[in-house]
């Protein structure tokens, strides 16, 4: 595991937070790491939804099972974590 600090902008939360992800993990695991610091703390869980990840200012999401180090995500990039329906891409 290799720690990768990123900036989490979590949908519905009021601030940006420092989140330590794993560059060897998947985008999904990064979403979980971000959710840990927002959901159930200041953001209500949304059962049935999944959390997708995109770069601030972009509309397209990263593939959930992509390995973080295979994407263009670098340390301290500002990423948006957004609730979505599971079937939507």
């Amino acid at each position: 595991m290799s720690q990768l600090p990123i900036i989490s902008n979590f949908q519905g939360d009021f601030l940006l937070q420092l989140v330590l992800g794993d560059s060897e993990g998947t985008i999904n695991s990064l979403a979980e790491a971000a959710a840990y610091h927002s959901v159930g703390r200041r953001v209500a869980p949304q059962p049935g939804k999944v959390i997708r990840v995109r770069r601030q200012g972009e509309t397209g999401f990263y593939k959930p099972d992509a390995k973080v180090s295979d994407t263009d995500i670098k340390a301290m990039d500002c990423l948006e974590f957004v609730f979505s329906d599971p079937d939507k891409k």
């Binding site: 900036i7 939360d13 601030l15 940006l16 937070q17 703390r41 200041r42």
Partner: protein, 501 residues
């Protein structure tokens, strides 16, 4: 009685400029400490301070004022306000003293800079009284909280806060250092006395003084209004300095300094005064919302003083005014959620009645900020306290050093405003903060926010324990909920009342 009127000798006392011959003019008034955008010193002969006083008048009036302030304190010492006041009010006192006392002392140094390096004798004389005033404000605002030390360790932060790397202290230092302690004399005249003191201190002190009277804290009320009488005098150093700059073709540059001053001051008032007024002040004693207060003071009065001087409103004015609606609510969430990292006990301020008030003053509050508080309240009521404490750091704005935050819930609009500069990416809270950086990057370039320091390995161990140690804040002084969560009882009885609005 044959005493000359002040007007008969006042001008002689401010005719003290001379052109040096044993050193150069530039050596005597170096650009770095004097500033002035290239307006030569002869042009400053026109500087005319509107408020005139003299040494004998000053020491007489100030002696009388001090006699007043200290006697009110002595008379009320036994009135046990500290034991009977709402804990939210006590929190306001703690945040006020810790945030201000040593800032007043830094203002003394800034007044001293104008006394030594100011280009006009009238400015130098007025700033001498300003030095004394700020010396007074420091001493009063240390003497008054000191008596509470033995009851509550958090009052130690009246003197301690500025000496720590606690995040709110870092943000406060940033504002103080950037607006005055780390500025040249002419910038100080404009940023400290005009933008900060005319624009914001007035408001802070008048507002606090009336709030204090409202909750029955007459000691604090009279202290604060006594300080304000000094502020309104020495705040007038800046106006004539602006006039000289404008008259000499430096309007755009002068405006820029005013805009930077307002933007910097606004952030700090927003994080300290906003939550004080709308959350910590007990509901029964709230006369106005922070937004209403800002509208009256900043839009109603300060905007007029800009226009009177012939200055245009800042390019960001609409953005700043828009922030009156939400920014301090976001800071309040940050202060409360990260409460173990601050030196006062923030009141949550979200009982059902308080939420109704917030919804009334800020329509849409329940649908935005209320959404975050809903989750917090559920956790408090369910006893899931671990979920009400942070396990990471907010991203801090590289300008204000405050969390980057905005509107949550269904109005979610939180955003990073990044800037790439000389190979480093900086993060800002808004376009205004990013603009501030761009005005003079050399002032900010190699500064590191608390988050930057953590990532650079300067904070060890890099966990919450290490961070608290780095902030020099420990159990016994770190904050917790002001009312020990008693406010949540309303939700225990009727868990649905929160949706009253």
């Amino acid at each position: 009685m044959t005493i000359l009127d002040r007007s008969e000798w006042y001008d002689i006392a401010r005719e003290t400029n001379w052109t040096p011959t044993f050193v150069t003019e530039e050596e005597l008034f170096p650009e770095v400490m004097t500033g002035g955008l290239g307006v030569t010193r002869d042009k400053w002969e026109k500087y005319d301070e509107p408020y005139k006083t003299s040494y004998p008048e000053y020491v007489k009036i100030q002696r009388e004022k001090d006699a007043g302030a200290y006697s009110v304190k002595a008379a009320l010492e036994r009135n046990k306000l500290f034991e009977t006041a709402d804990p939210g009010w006590i929190s306001i006192l703690k945040s006020h003293y810790g945030g201000l006392a040593l800032g007043e002392y830094a203002a003394m140094s800034a007044e001293a800079r104008m006394t030594r390096f100011g280009p006009a004798p009238g400015m130098r004389n007025m700033a001498t009284f300003g030095m004394l005033d700020e010396n007074r404000h420091t001493q009063l605002q240390l003497y008054f909280p000191h008596e509470h030390c033995s009851k509550d360790r958090q009052f130690d932060w009246a003197v301690k806060a500025y000496h720590t790397n606690e995040w709110a202290a870092i943000a406060t230092r940033r504002m103080v250092d950037d607006l005055f302690l780390g500025r040249d004399a002419i910038s100080i005249a404009i940023m400290l006395t005009f933008a900060f003191e005319t624009g914001f201190t007035n408001m802070q002190f008048l507002g606090l003084s009336s709030d204090a009277a409202e909750v029955g804290d007459y000691t604090f009320s009279s202290l604060i209004s006594s300080i304000q009488t000094d502020e309104s005098r020495h705040a007038q150093i800046g106006g004539p300095a602006l006039e000289v700059l404008i008259a000499n073709g430096k309007k755009a540059e002068a405006e820029r300094m005013v805009y930077q001053g307002i933007a910097g001051a606004w952030r700090l008032f927003c994080v300290l005064t906003g939550p004080s007024m709308d959350y910590n002040t007990p509901l029964a004693h709230r006369k106005h919302s922070f937004k209403e207060f800002m509208q009256e003071w900043i839009i109603g009065q300060f905007e007029r003083s800009l226009i009177d001087l012939g200055l245009d409103l800042p390019w960001y004015w609409d953005k700043l005014v828009a922030e009156f609606d939400y920014m301090h609510h976001a800071y309040q969430l940050g202060l409360w959620y990260w409460r173990p990292t601050i030196w006062w006990n923030p009141a949550a301020g979200v009982t059902p009645d308080e939420r109704d008030w917030l919804e009334e003053k800020y329509p849409g509050w329940n649908d935005t900020f209320g959404k975050c508080w809903d989750v917090i309240i559920e956790n408090v009521v369910a006893g899931r306290m671990d979920k009400t404490y942070p396990e990471t750091l907010p991203i801090l704005c590289n300008m204000s050093q405050l969390p980057i935050c905005a509107i949550p819930g269904n109005g979610w609009n939180v955003k990073d405003y990044p800037l790439e500069y000389q190979g480093r990416t900086y993060h800002f809270n808004s376009e205004i903060d990013r603009w501030m950086f761009q005005q003079s990057p050399e002032r900010y370039r190699d500064h590191m926010s608390l988050v930057d320091r953590l990532l650079a390995g300067q904070i060890q161990p890099p966990d919450i324990g290490g961070i608290l140690k780095y902030m020099n804040i420990a159990p016994g002084e770190c904050g917790d909920d002001a009312h020990k969560y008693a406010w949540a009882d309303a939700y225990r009885v009727n868990p649905f009342s929160k949706s009253a609005a």
